[in-house]
Assembly symmetry: C2
Homo-oligomer: 285 residues x 2
């Protein structure tokens, strides 16, 4: 398979929705061309999925890997309350990853892309010793309505979607479900929001740093069946939404209260009266 | 250096221009937020730069690598006649690449970004065995005015900017200069345009395929000092612009005529009467 044939195959597998009037040009030119919608801000995010860092060939099929590579970016769009629209897929392939594996990757990406109306409109291909995907996702949100990490205020109530630690409890084998619908339901309600990629303790610390507040967790957490407390607090890749709501604002169905925002040392997170460390997944430590 | 410190350092080094009123949020949230300009289409492109594929540590400094990683995307924006605005930088670092190396990478990217008014507004960091950058560049172009590969018509004159084979003749050590100003001068004039990343023969073949035409090169090419004919025809990474102009339309200063567009077998490229193969840099062959 030479590069021209590979790109032709990828073009065939990519889900450029012909009905999308905002898509002027997808794969096949130097850039993709997109016409923005009136009254919208653009959301831009990019995430790696790398062999032996984010997945293992023994435990993840090609389709699992493709799904996950796209899911990470979709979850970031969910965290801002946006709609996901387009993706650029950069794919660095080792010798062992042939045409069949690439079809598997695109199969997984297309399955998830189809559910959320996302079109794959570009990317890059290269050789590498280690399978590497980098997926850039482009979304839209009504102008000025994006949910930020920085808006949490003292007294706000902290909520989380779903159950905590489910990815860790599954051995990180499950396919993450980006919470796009739940994110949009938080628009105009939540004062701050982010997705949980590296574990509650570390991610809540980050949200508190950006908002210059501290957090006090209730003693009880909505943990997933089979998850330990350590996994609920520090297990990464849950891709649930973490948000803060002013007192009296009801959280959408699917969220559970887990604590309150406090003044105090920015970034500090307390659980059952104790200060939590920055536990969570950190490849640089 | 843990991940939070690394991201804090990168945030400090990133050139989010405070004066840019379209930039609502840069590094530090789940997504970057950008407000599109009225009457513009968006251009989106992404390119890898990978150790031992696109550069070698023995011959390229960290700043050279950073420069090149951004230059590839800027050249794609140039090829569409656009203005480059923002970049997302995904950085996968092996153990050997410490804080000093990362500063070098950002130094090179910032130098080039500064020249073209580009702001680095997001990205991702990860661990990897092989240093990998994937840079997504976002540009703008007046609505409907992007230069495409697909518009070349029989009889058009083929032009190229600069000299061919200069990258190959330098041993691929020079820093590529994206031709953004030249690209904008082609708006409303060129019928087709692309940048030369993989060598004239292969890239002109691609342009002809997209335009469903063939090409006949003149016998003489503007080759760089020291470049062989093989390098002028097949040397990659020149990042010059290749374009077609209708007969009678004068090319901007900086371009040289190299041939004419013919009907005939789509994609065929002839030089001095002979059919050229798809020579050029193809890592998948």
């Amino acid at each position: 398979m030479d590069e021209l044939s590979l790109i032709a195959a990828i073009r065939g597998m990519s889900t450029a929705r012909r009905r999308d009037r905002g898509l002027i040009a997808g794969i096949g030119d130097d850039c993709a061309i997109v016409r923005p919608r009136d009254g919208e801000d653009l959301l831009l995010t990019t995430d790696f999925v790398i062999e032996d860092v984010h997945f293992r060939r023994r435990t993840h099929t090609a389709a699992d890997v493709g799904w996950k590579a796209l899911a990470r970016g979709l979850s970031d769009i969910a965290a801002m309350g946006g709609e996901a629209r387009y993706a650029l897929v950069s794919l660095a392939l080792p010798e062992w990853a042939g045409a069949r594996y690439v079809r598997g990757l695109y199969g997984g990406m297309n399955e998830l892309a189809g559910r959320h109306g996302v079109a794959i409109i570009g990317g890059d291909v290269a050789r590498s010793g280690q399978l590497t995907l980098d997926v850039c996702v482009i979304g839209g949100v009504p102008r000025g309505k994006a949910l930020r990490r920085s808006g949490a205020r003292t007294g706000d109530v902290i909520h989380v979607s779903g159950a905590l630690g489910h990815a860790a409890a599954s051995g990180y084998r499950e396919r993450p479900e980006p919470r796009l619908e739940l994110g949009r339901k938080l628009r105009g309600k939540a004062t701050a929001c982010m997705d949980l990629s590296d574990g509650l303790a570390l991610d809540l610390h980050r949200l508190c740093v950006e908002s210059k507040v501290s957090a006090e967790l209730d003693g009880v957490l909505p943990s997933a069946p089979g998850a330990t407390l350590e996994q609920a607090l520090g297990g990464g890749e849950d891709y649930e939404l973490l948000c803060t709501l002013p007192v009296g604002v009801r959280a959408p169905v699917g969220f559970t209260r887990i604590g309150v925002v406090r003044a105090g040392r920015p970034g500090e997170v307390r659980f059952a009266g104790m200060k939590l460390g920055r536990r969570g997944w950190d490849p640089f430590r």
